[in-house]
């Protein structure tokens, strides 16, 4: 293709996006669009499957059968999200094995929040309430993003995430209205998860590298700081309802702006965790890579069996 032709295609492409048309896998797309989407969708998919681990950690110890069933279902949903998102990503011409390879080698990232340990049952509440809460704020706008398969996957994901968030809030509510030991547990979980949840909305706008292009492609509709403010404004009243204290002495309602003011985020911690130095980065990667390696013989067997079956079918057809 000549440069001019490409330029022409790009113009048509950008115009389609501007008209809110969906881009589909077979459509022409600029290489950068494809790469950016692979990066973001796969990062999202990886976050779902790494995110199974901190919650999976409490399945064997859930305090009631009802909670155990709900937690299993939640972690299963996350695996399901991983599956749709990997599939969406594969439509961009990359295989799931390549995506795993990127995760396992550390080339691809996943949400840093999952590098914090889940050390009490209340963490199951806090993750649902805060982490899924922040995730929804990140994700709802993606339901109308420009790339069709991603947008459709996100519609399904968001619906389930809302359910998870309510479930998490309900765990917190039960604890907050429980015995002193339970209330302590809830407050402690809020203390530990609050700041990492704020960090989930991404670095401050000044530090964020992908914002402008992502806005154009509708991979982003608001800046990180706007999303963070939205999350805080929405969450503070919920904490009040629970009777729990958000661990930020600078947090207060600002009549003028109509938003909550809040304290300084420890960005050093954020970048440390992103760089791989969070409390559980190593455990999470070991768990994923370990599962993958221990599973090699199983996947090989499934493939060999499928091939044999195929061959037998051909033979029986031929004869």
């Amino acid at each position: 293709m000549s440069e001019k032709e490409v330029k022409n295609l790009e113009e048509i492409f950008e115009a389609r996006i501007a008209r809110d048309e969906k881009i589909e896998p077979k459509d022409w797309m600029p290489e950068k669009y494809r790469k950016t989407h692979i990066r973001q969708i796969s990062q999202h998919a990886h976050s779902e499957i790494v995110g199974m681990l901190p919650e999976g950690n409490w399945i064997s110890r859930a305090p009631s059968l009802r909670r155990k069933v709900a937690l299993l279902a939640k972690v299963q949903d996350e695996a399901g999200h991983g599956l749709y998102l990997y599939s969406a990503c594969e439509t961009l011409g990359i295989s799931r094995n390549e995506l795993y390879e990127q995760l396992h080698s550390g080339k691809a990232k996943y949400s840093s929040i999952f590098n914090y340990p889940t050390i009490t049952w209340a963490d199951m509440g806090a993750i649902g309430w805060l982490v899924d809460g922040a995730a929804i704020i990140n994700q709802v706008p993606l339901c109308s993003t420009s790339y069709g398969p991603y947008a459709r996957a996100m519609i399904r994901v968001c619906k389930e995430e809302s359910f998870h968030q309510r479930q998490g809030f309900e765990i917190m509510l039960k604890l907050a209205n429980g015995t002193p030991a339970q209330k302590d547990m809830a407050q402690d979980a809020l203390n530990r998860w609050w700041w990492p949840s704020l960090m989930m909305l991404g670095p401050t706008d000044a530090e964020s590298v992908h914002t402008e292009q992502s806005m154009k492609w509708k991979l982003k509709r608001k800046t990180n700081d706007e999303l963070r403010q939205q999350f805080i404004d929405q969450t503070v009243p919920q904490a009040d309802l629970l009777g729990l204290t958000i661990p930020d002495p600078d947090l207060k309602w600002n009549e003028e702006t109509g938003h909550y003011d809040f304290g300084e985020i420890d960005w050093d911690e954020f970048w440390q965790v992103v760089k791989g130095h969070g409390p559980c980065n190593k455990e999470r990667m070991n768990a994923r890579v370990g599962a993958w390696e221990r599973g090699t013989w199983v996947r090989d067997a499934a493939m060999a069996y499928a091939e044999k079956k195929e061959k037998r079918k051909e033979v029986s057809k031929a004869s």
Partner: protein
Amino acid sequence: MNNKNLYDYILGIADNSLILGQRLGELCGHGPSLETDIAGTNISLDLFGQVRSYFQYAAQVSGDENATEDTIAFMRIERAYKNVLLVEQPNTDFGYTIVRQFLFDAYHLLFLKELEKSTDATLAAIAKKSIKEVSYHWRFSSDWIRRLGDGTPESHERVQEAVTDLWMYTDELFHQTDADKAMIAEGVGVDTSKLKDSYYKMISDVLTEATLAIPEGNYFHKGGKQGIHSEHMGYILADMQYMQRTYPNMEW
């Protein structure tokens, strides 16, 4: 308790699902592929769902107004759990996990199809609902037996080892306790002795199809149904009961 035998009988059924569900739950997020992870979690979910139905009924039957599905699930001592030894065996690898599932599913399916005819309406209803789920479990596990048995030389060898090792826990599935016998006599319980031939035929057919050898061992272990478990059980319970034991008498 008026219905001690019925109570024990319900627990004898449900504890299998409880402990197998617990074992599968340990694996969540650690499977060989996303698809098997989802399936394993799904089976665990089904089993715990069944457990809840059984234990809610057992709590009623117990006549103890403080009994709930959770006190029954979490507050018994080890010797009071009545599951068979098979279901408490460890998740050694995917081969063992699948073979354990396969050997249990075949029994579970045959058992439920009879329990559906129980004169106890509640048990019959739980069975009816569970059959659909367990049919899927059986399809999943027997398909994997075929894949692993007739897959690669390595998978064949590994799954054969698991079959050989776990075979000795199959006979206990058909062992009848006093509560079992009393409930059979009343038409409530399933006479498992009548299922034994179908069971061994059912699993042997799949093993043969999967090019696996049917173990010839004629010694079998039992004890689980009398609460004499393997050394694995204590560790399962230490985790499973952790919250209820550490924070007793609370709502979650």
